[in-house]
């Protein structure tokens, strides 16, 4: 006596449910293979709450650009929280007034006097409420902190100021004097035509002296770099590592610009995840879009792509302080063994120009007639034999874990290089690790060679030669090739001693020839800079010197 018949109406109803389930599974199959068909508006976030979400690529080390040169830190702090004495105009690149309304340069070029802006308010947050506006004391405090060793705040959070050390500004600046409440005077030891440009870079941020006193009373001085106070458009609210940074609008910002209620950095390390979030509308703009996705973004009407020639250089640096790489013949052999054009196609997907030397075409100091090395494995093997390594050697290759314009996927580039070097019997062990550990290993010289790069902070060509290849830049960790060449240093110092453009160009040309002869590093590409955002926001302009500025971004929903 089976029970089938007695509940046949029940099973009919359940059968329809089952068919519903089956159609869902088949929908899974069909839709999965369909290409990116037309899609409706991104759901993203409802309009009831205003805010801009930016998918950044990694955690900032600190919230003070003075002590950390990584672009993540300056993205998260320099342009959103702090202001500088001077700024760059996004389009023309010329220097425009920032917190200093006007400035006067003496004839001998040794003393600069700055007239400061009045009634500029600092941020008021839960952890600090300022009682006075911005004045000269803050500028003095900000400069003295990295200039004068004995300054109470100099050794807070490591006491290292890599950018200023690499330009050894501490030796060029003699003194910073306070004339009155809103005027200061800086005097130098010798002329430096790139000094004004250096004051306009991200790293010359202006901190709050009153906040510093407040913290030293509570004797928690290290908070100055973790709970920042500045005069910029946004004020810091909360940071949770590997998850997000939250800023709220600075109500009394001195520039009247229309800004969203809150700005959020959603930390998403993987670039494909960032791109996916842009498509689903969970992020309004993303950092370092990977080249493969640029074409797809251009095809998508909802996403606006801005492109500008970048002031950057991606290169493959050899650690010249170690055995096989001391000999320039070995370095030349390795450089010849690599086919630069395939790397440009496979990694940059023709969104970069082939690099002949470290100076990009966008800079005025660029000159076309620099000899370029093209792919010649036979000569490479012969050079290796001459240098005594006929049966090759093994070396490690540090591949940068994070994404940057100048090198979108260092890991895949390393794999390509490995297959090329295998042909001249050089075995390569690719090493990559977490970004902080990676940089500390580099500065202690654990690497044989490294795939990394540099993006300029200001328009001055000196910003390429000095931090990358001068002897002073080795301790500060920006000279990855550990290369110290007296003649090269002399040419670079001579270049900044004069103001005449043609003379400086000639000096930089001799510097390029020294690099081409010695090959401490093999320049690979100058990548275009992309800024990508969906149509939820407007007013985001691309900046030639990298970084992202939300000062005059507004929601267009």
């Amino acid at each position: 006596m089976s029970f089938g018949q007695c509940s046949n109406n029940a099973s009919y109803r359940y059968r329809s449910l089952v068919i519903g389930m089956l159609s869902l599974v088949s929908l899974l199959g069909v839709a999965a293979c369909s290409q990116n068909n037309e899609k409706n508006s991104p759901t993203g976030h409802s309009s009831s709450i205003s805010g801009v979400i930016y998918c950044s690529e990694s955690n900032p080390g600190f919230f003070n650009p003075q002590i950390d040169t990584s672009s993540t830190t300056s993205d998260a702090s320099a342009h959103q929280i702090y202001n500088r004495l001077l700024d760059f105009d996004a389009q023309t690149g010329r220097i425009i007034p920032g917190l200093a309304t006007s400035w006067l340069v003496s004839k001998d070029g040794l003393t600069y006097t700055f007239q400061l802006r009045r009634n500029v308010a600092f941020h008021t947050t839960e952890y600090f409420q300022p009682t006075r506006n911005f004045n000269a004391d803050d500028v003095i405090f900000s400069f003295q902190r990295w200039l004068d060793e004995s300054h109470p705040y100099h050794h807070i959070n490591g006491g290292l100021y890599p950018y200023f050390d690499s330009l050894n500004l501490a030796q060029t600046i003699k003194s910073v004097k306070r004339i009155n409440g809103y005027r200061i005077e800086i005097s130098l030891f010798q002329r430096d035509s790139s000094f004004l440009a250096n004051l306009a870079t991200d790293f010359a941020a202006i901190l709050s002296a009153q906040y510093a006193q407040h913290l030293s009373i509570l004797n928690k001085p290290s908070d100055i770099d973790f709970l920042p106070i500045g005069t910029g458009p946004y004020q810091f609210k909360e940071f949770r590592k590997d998850q997000f940074i939250r800023f709220t609008q600075h109500p009394q910002y001195w520039q009247q610009t229309e800004r969203p209620q809150q700005l959020i950095f959603d930390i998403t390390p993987s670039s494909s995840l960032r791109f996916a979030k842009l498509v689903t509308g969970e992020c309004d703009t993303i950092a370092y879009p990977s080249q493969t996705e640029i074409e797809v973004m251009q095809a998508n009407p909802k996403i606006i792509v801005q492109e500008a020639p970048g002031l950057n250089i991606g290169f493959w640096a050899f650690n010249t302080s170690k055995a096989p790489f001391k000999d320039p013949k070995v370095r030349r052999a390795l450089a010849l063994a690599i086919d630069k054009s395939t790397i440009l196609d496979a990694i940059y997907f023709n969104s970069a120009t082939r690099a002949r030397s470290i100076i990009p075409p966008a800079s005025w100091a660029f000159s076309a007639d620099i000899p370029d090395l093209n792919y010649n494995p036979v000569k490479a093997r012969q050079l290796l034999k001459e240098a005594g390594y006929s049966n090759g050697f093994n070396m490690n290759l540090f591949a940068m874990p994070v994404v940057r314009d100048y090198n979108p996927d260092a890991r895949r580039m390393a794999e390509l290089i490995r297959t090329y070097l295998a042909e001249i019997s050089v075995t390569v062990d690719i090493q990559t690790s977490d970004w902080d550990k990676f940089r500390s290993d580099l500065s202690t010289g654990k690497h044989d060679s490294v795939l990394i790069g540099w993006s300029a902070d200001n328009g001055d060509p000196d910003n390429f030669y000095r931090p990358l290849l001068t002897c002073a830049a080795i301790p500060s960790g920006t000279n990855r090739a550990m290369w110290c060449h007296p003649e090269f240093d002399a040419t670079v110092n001579a270049a900044i001693a004069t103001d005449d453009i043609d003379e400086r160009k000639a000096f930089y040309q001799t510097a390029n020839e020294i690099i081409a002869r010695e090959i401490p590093l093999m320049p690979i590409a100058h990548a275009y800079r992309y800024s990508v955002h969906n149509d939820n926001i407007q007013g985001l302009t691309i900046n030639p010197y990298g970084g992202i500025r939300f000062a005059n971004v507004r929601e267009s929903r």
């Binding site: 029970f3 099973s11 389930m21 899609k39 996916a276 498509v279 969970e282």
Partner: protein
């Protein structure tokens, strides 16, 4: 009744003790200095504290004793990469995982078991075969591939659902209990309803991804249990006694079937937690699985050690209590001598 409770209580205590022992011995297996693996900071001359002292003397029992004392007092050591105390980090991430596991478990219970009952009761009929073939397909889905498929289709192509995180970061909800829905409900921010709706949207895809496989497993186990019970002698006698069908099914068949599959759910908990940890990495859900796997990449041994100890003790606790409950309410289990 009391003896079973007592027996299970000391079994749970023994097992947790063994887990504690394993987590302690892990510190010695992991590369690097045992003291650093236990507490996260380096054993220097001037580090004070009973544990450091015990390590200097090298007396292992004392080390274990102080380690256990620290654990009970909430000092769970400091993580290598962030140097923040692990205690708060875990209490940020664990509720997220428990929340996702809870929703996935309830979803698969409320879908798996009724369909299993239907399939079992109509066995060897068309509905049964469709259910069985469907559950066979669902069981063989690799969970991370399924999650990617769901993202590809529902987030990227059809753009219906968000694909990452627990809540859109625009909503700043103060974290009280760690469970996102509960936090929203008892938060006083004006945009509460929008936040709630958004949290639900964020929950849909991960819950489906996790519960997809567990539903199929529940379906199959329930069907097998029901078919076995229907074939037993006492159900035949009940039928010959002429009892109406619904009485037989609801009172006898269901109760016996449920009693026989309750202990099997304990094993399902572990596959559920594994699937949740994998789905978390795909949907970047801020749970303990995602955090543990990040800890692996950064070789953060204190985090791995405490994460392992915590997750496995929770899973063991749930499984053992499930087994104890099934032993208490199932009278007939008493006569089968225990293995």
């Amino acid at each position: 009744m009391l003896t079973t409770l007592l027996r299970y209580f000391n079994l749970i205590v023994i097992t947790l003790f063994i887990l504690l022992l394993i987590s302690f011995s892990l510190a010695f297996f992991f590369p690097g200095e045992p003291y650093t693996n236990l507490t996260g900071n380096i054993l220097l001359e001037e580090t004070v504290g009973p544990l450091a002292q015990a390590f200097r003397e090298g007396n292992i029992f004392q080390q274990f004793w102080y380690y256990a004392k620290n654990l009970s007092m909430g000092d769970w050591g400091v993580s290598f990469s962030t140097a923040l105390p692990l205690y708060d980090k875990i209490f940020q991430t664990l509720p997220a995982t428990l929340e996702l596991t809870f929703y996935a478990a309830t979803l698969s219970l409320f879908i798996g078991i009724p369909c299993g009952m239907l399939a079992g009761f109509l066995h060897h009929k068309k509905t049964d075969y469709t259910f069985m073939s469907m559950s066979m397909v669902m069981v063989s889905f690799p969970v991370f591939w399924l999650a990617l498929l769901l993202i590809l289709i529902f987030s990227l192509q059809l753009n219906l659902l968000p694909m990452s995180g627990r809540l859109s970061l625009l909503y700043d909800i103060p974290e009280t209990s760690g469970f996102v829905l509960i936090d929203i409900i008892n938060s006083t921010v004006p945009y509460r309803y929008a936040a709630f709706y958004d949290a639900i949207q964020h929950l849909i895809l991960p819950t489906i991804a996790v519960s997809f496989i567990t539903t199929a497993v529940f379906l199959r186990t329930t069907r097998r249990a029901i078919v076995d019970v229907m074939a037993t002698e006492y159900i035949k006698t009940a039928q010959t006694r002429g009892l109406p069908f619904y009485v037989i099914f609801s009172r006898h068949v269901l109760r016996n079937a449920m009693l026989s599959i309750l202990p099997l759910f304990a094993i399902q908990i572990s596959t559920l937690v594994t699937n949740v940890m994998i789905v978390e990495t795909v949907f970047s859900w801020p749970g303990i699985g995602h955090w543990l796997i990040q800890a692996i990449y950064e070789r953060d041994y204190p985090a791995i050690r405490i994460g392992m100890l915590l997750v496995s003790s929770i899973v063991v606790f749930f499984a053992m209590s499930l087994e104890c409950i099934s032993r208490l309410i199932d009278p007939s289990r008493g006569n089968k001598q225990y293995a």
